[in-house]
């Protein structure tokens, strides 16, 4: 009898004791860090940048992890290059590690390694990103082909007044599909000045980006001539433009009035990798989903993009007159006259951009 009781008690203890443990093992003990790569090769720009990070596999709240400056950082001695290939020809462009400051946010305190090089991609070439860790031999790669810039049909003439007030024939941004581009974005930027009660005058701009337009079958690439595909239209009616004003321009205290300078539009094209990333890569809430990546031995993506634009677009006077009257834009305090007509403003140029980066501008 005693033996039975002992056996039964032992069995119960065997079952119940492990059940007392109530901790959750969030990470597998053998989990290794992974390389996280983000980069876009812009064929209409000469500065190419790649962001390199590591995953964190520490079992701690993210608020603690993000306060550690090196928790998400890769080895600073990484050798990063972009290889330009055309058949057997290969040119190697080393990328230089640059420490950028960060905008406020969750990762504000983490080290911000950006690798960059001056190279304008040629659409006849293939490009390969090579990252080597000299300390342990890790090799991370990705290969892409550049995207040709979209062919802008309209608007093309700067410092001309365009008709935003004609509801029957609204302002229209037209462009043609180009080879290798599977996604397009249209960016609409409003340039204006703000004059404050204390006399300060600040030049500002606010941008609105339309929803991505996906293209399933872009025209075939030809090294000889530019194959154009279907025309894509992006209408901007008067009411739509009011709503854009309302959405992107914030309220400011002490503001006396605003005065419009001009509009600027830019059309961006992205390759299949960029499209896949936009469509499927950022939905990370589903734990069964495969995260899109085209990085070998890492995660993230390396894609190709290009853009074309037109600045100095001016609205018609009817539009300007109605801006302070429309209920949703009246709060913005726009005057009915333009700040100045003429080419006084321009989009941020490549040179302006480079001047923000001391190392690059020095090299230049």
């Amino acid at each position: 009898m005693k033996i039975r009781i002992i056996i039964l008690t032992s069995l119960l203890l065997i079952i119940l004791l492990p059940a007392c443990n109530n901790d959750i093992a969030l990470f597998n003990n053998n989990q290794q860090k992974s390389y996280v790569i983000f980069g876009l090769l812009n064929s209409t720009d000469s500065l190419q940048q790649v962001k390199i990070r590591m995953t964190s596999v520490t079992d701690a709240p993210i608020s603690d992890l993000s306060n550690d400056s090196t928790e998400f950082s890769a080895n600073p001695n990484l050798i990063v290059t972009i290889q330009e290939w055309q058949k057997d020809y290969c040119a190697i462009f080393p990328m230089k590690r640059t420490l950028y400051s960060k905008e406020p946010g969750l990762f504000f305190n983490t080290r911000n390694d950006i690798y960059q090089a001056l190279i304008t991609p040629d659409t006849d070439m293939d490009y390969k990103l090579m990252i080597t860790n000299p300390d342990n031999g890790d090799l991370i790669t990705s290969k892409i082909v550049p995207v040709q810039p979209p062919k802008l049909g309209s608007p093309t003439w700067p410092w001309v007044r365009y008709n935003f007030s004609n509801e029957a024939d609204p302002f229209n941004i037209r462009f043609n599909e180009v080879p290798r581009a599977h996604v397009y974005l249209v960016q609409f930027t409003i340039h204006f000045i703000e004059v404050y009660e204390n006399g300060d005058t600040i030049q500002q701009h606010s941008s609105f980006v339309h929803q991505p337009r996906y293209v399933d079958n872009p025209p075939e690439y030809s090294p000889v001539h530019l194959n154009l595909g279907s025309e894509i239209n992006q209408h901007m009616s008067k009411k739509f433009t009011y709503n854009v004003f309302d959405e992107v321009i914030p309220d400011r205290s002490g503001l006396k009035y605003r005065q419009l300078i001009c509009f600027e539009i830019a059309v961006w094209g992205g390759d299949q990798n960029l499209r896949n990333y936009l469509e499927f890569g950022i939905k990370f809430s589903d734990n069964r989903k495969q995260v899109f990546t085209n990085i070998v031995n890492g995660i993230g993506f390396f894609g190709a993009c290009s853009h074309v634009g037109c600045t100095g677009i001016l609205p018609d006077q009817d539009f300007m007159d109605s801006l302070p009257l429309f209920p949703r834009t009246s709060r913005l305090k726009f005057r009915t006259d333009l700040y100045k007509t003429g080419p006084q403003t321009k989009a941020i140029s490549h040179d302006d951009f480079l001047s923000l980066i001391p190392e690059i501008s020095n090299e230049k």
Partner: protein, 776 residues
């Protein structure tokens, strides 16, 4: 395919003709006659199933079926005495006169005997056990359900189902039931023949059904017979009872969890002289948790108990003087959850139907006909994702014939279901996507039950045509029982099953307060592992074998081992990373099609001990199970793969006239699988929403996941207790007070874990409750 159609059609005709031939031959015999009829309870008019009916002085006899219907054939011409016996009732005797080839119709009303109710229940259960193949089947009645302690006053089906062997419940807060490896969508719930698409409220321990309205609940956890179909895992068949046909009765209940009211009575009274009657039953119940929980359970976490539900059910039953029945019913169930995080989910089911149980005077066949319609609509709004909504409309029609011979019972049925599903959501790209589909199923089925002294054999064939794919699915089913001894039987069941309904909820969602529905999926892969799939229908086969013991001392023991081969399932495609443009041999389809095929296995062994005495009862159910799923990409265990699950229920009555009852339930289950982290990282940040990478930008936090469900959560265990006291008054009036405590030792079972903040939210903590039930 055409030749197949012809073959099946001819087979159906032959079988039907054969049944008709048997019927005619029996009636036309010159020296024999037959008697058929119904057995009802005197006063209430409730059906008395499994009553023994015999012709005194002969070997002719039979047993009333679930509808109280019986048929005795081959009775010699002349005067006889019909004797009806059923435990718990007075013996009934009636003189009958049988003419040559005559079919005598009788209606029998048994008077209830003043014996212990429990004894009668157990004995009836034992009689039923003797006549059935006790494999993968559990019958629940109001009495058996009352053995489980409940939060609130009255026991609820949702709380009882969790204790059955092979049933896994994923949690008190929005949890779902998984039956022997099947997902909730693979389980069909029928209420008087009507499909109830969502039978459980968002708070996991409440179903939409009022237990007091239910006559019986049959849970077929695997390898169910040919009378059911359309699901690849399990069936729950609920039947409601009619209202009392002679007296007005009521039940009012109130607790801090919710309230309930049931009213029933005659619209046209059944008297001693006439059977023809009309009765009604109406039931409503609702929750009070949203208002009482913050006051009574201040220790609840920030999630609280923001649940609200209201259920209404009504039925009017007509009984003809020859015992035939006709009923009309309607229902309306609503549910609403509103979390502080602004996540809001609400759904409602509205439906109604009618049913006939008829045996025409000159026919020895019992016809059970049903027509029911319902609409389920649900909305889900979560600020972090996108609004979603779904509709499921259903029309069920069936004509069933039951033909009873001496040792043979043949059931045939023709059924038709029309289904409309709608699923609407706005995706991340702000595009409004909808899925609006109409489909229908036509079904013809045959089932026979052959009773030999040592064997019971139940072969069946379920023929289902899915209009969406216009394909006939012949599904053979078999059940067999071999009596090793009077108390011990060896049982076996197997069958093939199909289903075309899919849920848009991915199986990995542990907490699912919303699921959309879809039928006739057209955007599923054309090829699966290199093989072309011509029938995009989910399919599975089941096999169960077991031993069942039921002795004269009310001890019930069973051990069952089962296997379910889900060899074709259809699920949302979590791997989709490309736009679907139709089949392209050069493109990986499983990375682009919105739906994908999966396969899966579920197998295990279940043990059950069920013992009842006059003043106590014990229930112990242990399950050991494996569940796997495999798609084109990976093999994994679904989140409900609980390896060990043990439920212990004890019930003890004491005091003078057993007015006190103490009930307890302890459950322990091994941890559910979950997906571990493989890393946190900073996302890409673009500049002003363009393709320009912002080198200064602070990217969003992203999570890299490890192998799906590669980790295990801690074990789940909980103890619930309740103490009830009954005061009995004249004329059957009764007051019952109940005090119960859920999660007595306040075990912190995991509900969910926020990976980012490492915040843990647990299942329900210790929760005492008080309530009262007045029966009048």
């Amino acid at each position: 395919m055409k030749s197949n159609w012809k073959k099946y059609f001819i087979l159906i005709l032959l079988l039907g003709f054969r049944c008709h031939l048997v019927e005619c031959q029996t009636i036309q015999m010159d020296t024999w006659g037959e008697v058929k009829g119904y057995v009802y309870e005197q006063g209430t008019g409730f059906v008395v199933p499994l009553a023994g009916v015999a012709i005194e002085g002969t070997k002719q006899g039979g047993m009333a079926n679930e509808y109280g219907f019986f048929l005795i054939g081959k009775i010699p011409v002349g005067s006889h005495i019909l004797v009806v016996r059923c435990i718990g009732y007075e013996e009934y005797r009636q003189n009958i006169s049988i003419g040559p080839g005559q079919l005598e119709n009788v209606v029998i009303r048994l008077t209830k005997r003043s014996v212990e109710l429990k004894e009668a229940v157990v004995s009836a259960e034992r009689r039923r056990w003797e006549r059935m193949t006790p494999v993968a089947t559990q019958r629940l009645t109001v009495e058996s359900m009352s053995r489980t302690p409940s939060l609130g006053v009255q026991s609820d089906l949702a709380q009882v189902l969790q204790t059955l062997p092979g049933v896994i419940f994923s949690g008190d807060r929005g949890g779902q039931l998984y039956v022997r490896g099947g997902a909730p969508i693979d389980n069909k719930v029928l209420l008087d023949g009507m499909t109830v698409i969502n039978p459980f409220h968002s708070i996991g321990f409440m179903s939409v059904f009022d237990t007091e309205v239910l006559q019986s609940v049959d849970v077929y956890s695997a390898a169910y017979g040919a009378q059911f179909g359309g699901r690849v895992s399990s069936i729950m068949d609920l039947r409601t009872r009619p209202g009392n046909r002679s007296t007005m009765k009521g039940i009012a209940s109130q607790s801090n969890i919710g309230y309930g009211l049931l009213l029933e009575g005659p619209l046209k009274k059944m008297t001693d002289s006439t059977l023809g009657s009309i009765s009604y039953i109406f039931s409503t119940k609702g929750s009070m948790l949203r208002s009482t929980a913050p006051v009574l359970y201040p220790w609840l976490d920030s999630l609280g108990l923001p649940y609200r539900y209201n259920d209404y059910y009504g039925k009017v039953s007509f009984m003809e003087r020859n015992g035939n029945l006709f009923d009309v019913f309607g229902l309306h169930y609503t549910d609403d959850v509103s979390y502080k995080t602004a996540v809001r989910s609400s759904w409602s089911t509205t439906g109604g139907g009618m049913g006939f149980v008829i045996s025409p005077t000159q026919s020895n066949t019992l016809f059970v006909n049903r027509l029911a319609m319902s609409r389920y609509s649900a909305d889900f709004d979560d600020p972090s994702t996108t609004p979603k909504s779904t509709i499921y409309d259903n029309l069920d029609m069936s004509i069933k014939g039951i033909h009873m011979l001496d040792r043979l019972e043949v059931t045939w049925a023709a059924e038709f279901s029309a289904i409309h599903t709608q699923y609407s959501y706005i995706n991340y790209d702000q595009r409004h996507l909808t899925d609006d589909l109409y489909t229908s199923d036509a079904i013809i089925l045959f089932q026979a039950k052959i009773l030999w002294p040592r064997w019971i054999l139940e072969p069946g064939l379920h023929l289902r045509v899915y209009s969406a794919i216009f394909n006939l699915m012949p599904e053979p089913r078999i059940k067999a029982r071999y009596n090793i001894s009077k108390n011990l039987s060896l049982n076996f069941a197997a069958g093939l099953y199909s289903q075309n309904l899919t849920a848009t909820t991915a199986e990995q969602d542990v907490v699912s307060v919303f699921q959309g529905f879809n039928t006739g999926v057209e955007t599923v892969q054309d090829y699966f592992r290199g093989r072309r799939i011509y029938k995009p229908v989910q399919q599975a086969w089941h096999a169960v074998a077991g031993l069942s013991w039921f002795d004269q001392h009310n001890l019930k023991l069973s051990v069952e081992t089962y296997v379910k081969d889900f060899y074709r399932l259809i699920n949302n495609n979590p791997h989709q990373i490309y736009t679907y443009l139709g089949y392209d041999p050069n493109f990986p389809e499983y990375l682009s099609s919105p739906y994908i095929y999966e396969t899966g296995w579920s197998y295990g062994i279940d043990f059950l001990l069920d013992y009842s005495e006059t003043n106590y009862s014990v229930w112990a159910a242990y399950s050991y199970a494996y569940v796997t799923r495999e798609d084109e990409f990976m093999k994994y265990v679904p989140h409900f793969d609980r390896r060990h699950n043990l439920n212990l229920i004890g019930n003890y009555r004491f005091g003078k006239d057993n007015v006190w009852t103490v009930k307890g339930r302890f459950q322990i289950g091994s941890g559910f699988p979950f997906t571990q982290n493989a890393g946190f990282y900073e996302e890409f940040k673009n500049k002003d929403g363009t393709f320009w990478m912002d080198p200064y930008g602070d990217g969003n936090l992203a999570i890299l996941y490890g192998p799906i469900n590669g980790g295990r959560l801690p074990a789940y265990h909980r103890l619930d207790l309740s103490l009830n006291r009954i005061w009995r008054f004249p004329q059957g009036r009764q007051l019952e007070l109940s005090a119960s405590v859920l999660n007595v030792y306040n075990r912190q079972n995991v509900f969910y874990f926020d990976r980012v903040t490492q915040t843990r939210v647990n299942q329900l903590p210790i929760m005492p409750s008080l309530g009262a039930v007045l029966k009048f």
